[in-house]
């Protein structure tokens, strides 16, 4: 039923429809409303049978999920930012053990400096941990992806991260159609584990593996992720058949189907909505531009991305994280997909720490790109306040004890952090 719902509440309901048997919860902004919503559903008995564990940390949350999943329960948890880092060891453990845990990551910046607002630095820091990583553009897609995620995880015996932009999606109230219990049950059958702790059939899980076999075990993980490249579209297709919505999949283009456009903007997550608005505006003005959204970042749909971009004259990657000391992350990945082709890729980093990505800035950016006022293959930061930056660099040059960067810059800006946008 279509209702006006807060994203977090919608996700909580969607997860409940998937009948998780164990939910572990540790609060961190901006995921709190999801785990609170699930707590209510368990307490009222709407989600039953389900054990809701209020754990002592994110590390505890994923660890409990590991135990529960290994014991054959469908398992869920949610986190963001610092919490994702705190469970980093467990992330690798879960994927290495092949446990089909589903986790929502309410994407948020990573400190220092501490910042509770949206960007992709959290998930990007863990892009190699062996989890499948899906990105939602809207709250509807976030809902849909959770159902698909459980199906995907259990089919492959791999954990799946569903990424939704913190605050921007989690705290946005918009129309969402949450599948009914009947519909969800029809789509997602009961969990049949590949491995399970069972006294009637004891197994040892988590043994040490030495040089003689470690490579093979790791390559197997890679092979399973590669299988996901087939599985993700297949499950998305099944979902579309049942629910009539094209959520998920590997990539999507706008407009669809894609006419080879001169300029293609590539991005992940909710910023694609704003980008599509700009694409429409520019196309109405005669500018040949389109957008490509990457919905499944890991495994990386290299062929699909290459196919969508190979005819472009230029590709502009707009990403909400970057690799300090080297450059864009999605940008590097896109360049990999275009290896051997003469398509220039522009690395644009935008929206760090919750800075808004506006239509105005995107329009200016694209105009600059088309007019070649920006160079490709060089890191560009959208809406960078050069004056602030230069002042701090000057301060650092002037004296050794120049003080904490964050405090200096904030003082220059005249802001005491209080929710300014």
């Amino acid at each position: 039923m279509r209702r006006q719902l807060e994203g977090s509440q919608a996700v909580a309901q969607a997860v409940a429809r998937c009948r998780p048997q164990v939910v572990s919860a540790y609060p961190i902004s901006p995921q709190t409303h999801i785990v609170e919503g699930l707590s209510d559903l368990v307490r009222t008995g709407e989600l039953h049978p389900c054990e809701y564990l209020m754990v002592e940390s994110e590390f505890g949350a994923l660890s409990a999920a590991i135990g529960a999943s290994a014991a054959g329960a469908r398992t869920y948890t949610a986190t963001a930012s610092q919490g994702l880092l705190y469970m980093a060891e467990a992330l690798y453990n879960a994927s290495g053990l092949g446990l089909p845990i589903v986790m929502t990551v309410a994407n948020r910046a990573i400190g220092a400096p501490i910042n509770i607002w949206n960007d992709h630095s959290d998930v990007m820091s863990q892009r190699d941990c062996g989890w499948i990583q899906l990105f939602a553009e809207s709250n509807q897609e976030a809902v849909d992806l959770h159902l698909q995620a459980f199906a995907l995880a259990e089919e492959l015996s791999l954990p799946v991260m569903v990424n939704m932009d913190g605050f921007v999606l989690t705290h946005a109230v918009e129309p969402v159609d949450v599948p009914s219990q009947v519909e969800a049950d029809a789509f997602l059958p009961a969990f049949e584990p590949r491995q399970v702790l069972d006294p009637d059939d004891p197994v040892t899980i988590g043994a040490m593996v030495g040089p003689e076999a470690f490579t093979e075990v790791k390559v197997l993980m890679h092979a399973k992720q590669m299988q996901a490249l087939d599985m993700v579209p297949r499950i998305a297709g099944e979902f579309e058949e049942r629910f009539g919505r094209g959520s998920g999949g590997l990539v999507r283009t706008y407009p669809y189907p894609l006419d080879p456009a001169e300029t293609v903007v590539v991005a992940l997550g909710s910023v694609l909505g704003t980008i599509d608005e700009v694409v429409d505006e520019l196309r109405a003005e005669g500018v040949d531009v389109a957008s490509l959204g990457i919905r499944c970042f890991r495994p990386y749909p290299l062929e699909e991305i290459r196919g969508a971009l190979c005819h472009a004259k230029r590709v502009v990657v707009v990403e909400r994280a970057f690799a300090v000391g080297i450059g864009g992350i999605v940008g590097q990945n896109v360049r990999l997909a275009l290896a051997g082709l003469p398509v220039p890729v522009y690395d644009v980093v935008a929206g760090l720490g919750g800075r808004a990505v506006t239509r105005r800035s995107l329009r200016t950016l694209l105009a600059d790109v088309v007019a070649e006022r920006i160079e490709p293959h060089r890191l560009t930061f959208l809406d960078l306040n050069h004056e602030l930056l230069d002042r701090e660099l000057r301060r650092m040059g002037e004296r050794r004890k120049s003080g904490p960067h964050a405090e200096n810059i904030l003082r220059d800006l005249g802001v005491v952090a209080a929710g300014s946008h």
Partner: protein, 331 residues
């Protein structure tokens, strides 16, 4: 002829024989049908106290649960020597995840079983002193405060043995480890640090806390059985001498465990909901020196010149334990 009551003490290992006891009072270890949960072929050192302890505990737990048991294990000696790829010594469903998360993993398993309506299956978590008291401490405390239905067993050999004998918060004062060498002002591990795990467990008010050693098999098995009668968070702390780390002869493991108890350095107690309900009395207290001398990790106390001052401080620790827990037998 007048009757004279004499006390009969059975010394030495109790694992074999028991012919003086009624059959149903004999230990699990003496029975041929014991599950042998940690079966032979593992790669533990000769005389490993932990291998002994784990076998004793799990066989007793398996008997108490009729084999309906799942184990979560922290990284450490036990995990490493019991699962040398591609073999496993474990005869029960067993999960090793990480170093610091065994209590949380066990909580997750227990939650899964409950949600699936399979709470007849019980959960045991195990780890060494490092994995339990240091890196796993937050998870342990969380499991305690939630009163999750898990028996956690800590095998305490008083250092990070698997990585080469480094100091943990369970390392006793004056002990030598790789990073508390007998150099400098305070030879060995310093006094005034460390955690008292059983007291911390008791402070959480959980249903059952007990300490035990591998020297008293009846006592240890009884405590495991008692724990498995109960539900909620339970904790058993087992002293397991490590010949390699302690620098003791492999044949001395059980004797040293007994001396630890008889000196008062390792109080053997039971507690329920934060209150001590039973203590194993010391029949004849033994001076700590008798316990310390056979261990090379304390060799620096008996060199030239001997550190009688440090030994006296260790004795004071023992005496305090005896007073605090009322460990002396009163005839």
């Amino acid at each position: 002829m007048p009757e004279e009551r004499i006390k009969l003490y059975q010394l030495g290992t109790f694992a074999v024989g028991n012919r003086l006891l009624d059959p149903d009072e004999r230990t699990v270890q003496s029975r041929s049908e014991r599950s042998n949960t940690l079966t032979s072929g593992h790669r533990a050192c000769q005389g490993c106290g932990e291998a002994l302890g784990a076998r004793y505990v799990l066989d007793a737990a398996m008997r108490a649960t009729e084999g309906r048991l799942i184990a979560a294990n922290a990284t450490g000696c036990l995990e490493v020597f019991s699962t040398p790829y591609p073999e496993s010594s474990w005869q029960l469903p067993w999960l090793h995840s990480l170093f610091g998360n065994a209590p949380a993993v066990a909580s997750g398993i227990a939650a899964a079983l409950k949600a699936q309506g399979r709470s007849d299956i019980r959960v045991v978590a195990q780890g060494g002193d490092g994995g339990t008291l240091d890196i796993g401490f937050a998870c342990l405390s969380g499991m305690f405060e939630r009163n999750d239905d898990v028996l956690y067993v800590c095998y305490d050999n008083e250092a990070y043995m698997n990585t080469g004998v480094q100091r943990s918060s369970a390392t006793p004062p004056a002990a030598r480890t790789a990073n508390t060498k007998p150099v400098g002002d305070e030879p060995g591990n310093v006094f005034g640090q460390g955690k008292n795990a059983p007291l911390i467990a008791m402070a959480h008010g959980i249903p059952y806390v007990a300490t035990a050693t591998v020297a008293n098999l009846h006592d240890l098995e009884h405590k495991v059985e008692r724990a498995m009668e109960l539900h909620g968070a339970r904790y058993i702390h087992v002293l397991v001498p490590c010949p390699l780390g302690w620098g003791s002869a492999s044949k001395e493991t059980i004797r040293l465990a007994r001396l630890a108890h008889e000196t008062g350095l390792f109080p053997v107690i039971e507690a329920e909901h934060g209150e001590v309900v039973a203590v194993t009395k010391i029949r004849r207290p033994v001076p700590v020196e008798e316990y310390l001398r056979p261990q090379k990790r304390f060799a620096h106390l008996f060199g030239d010149p001997p550190r009688t001052d440090v030994v006296a401080r260790v004795q004071a620790v023992a005496d305090r334990n005896i007073r605090r827990f009322g460990l002396l037998e009163v005839d």
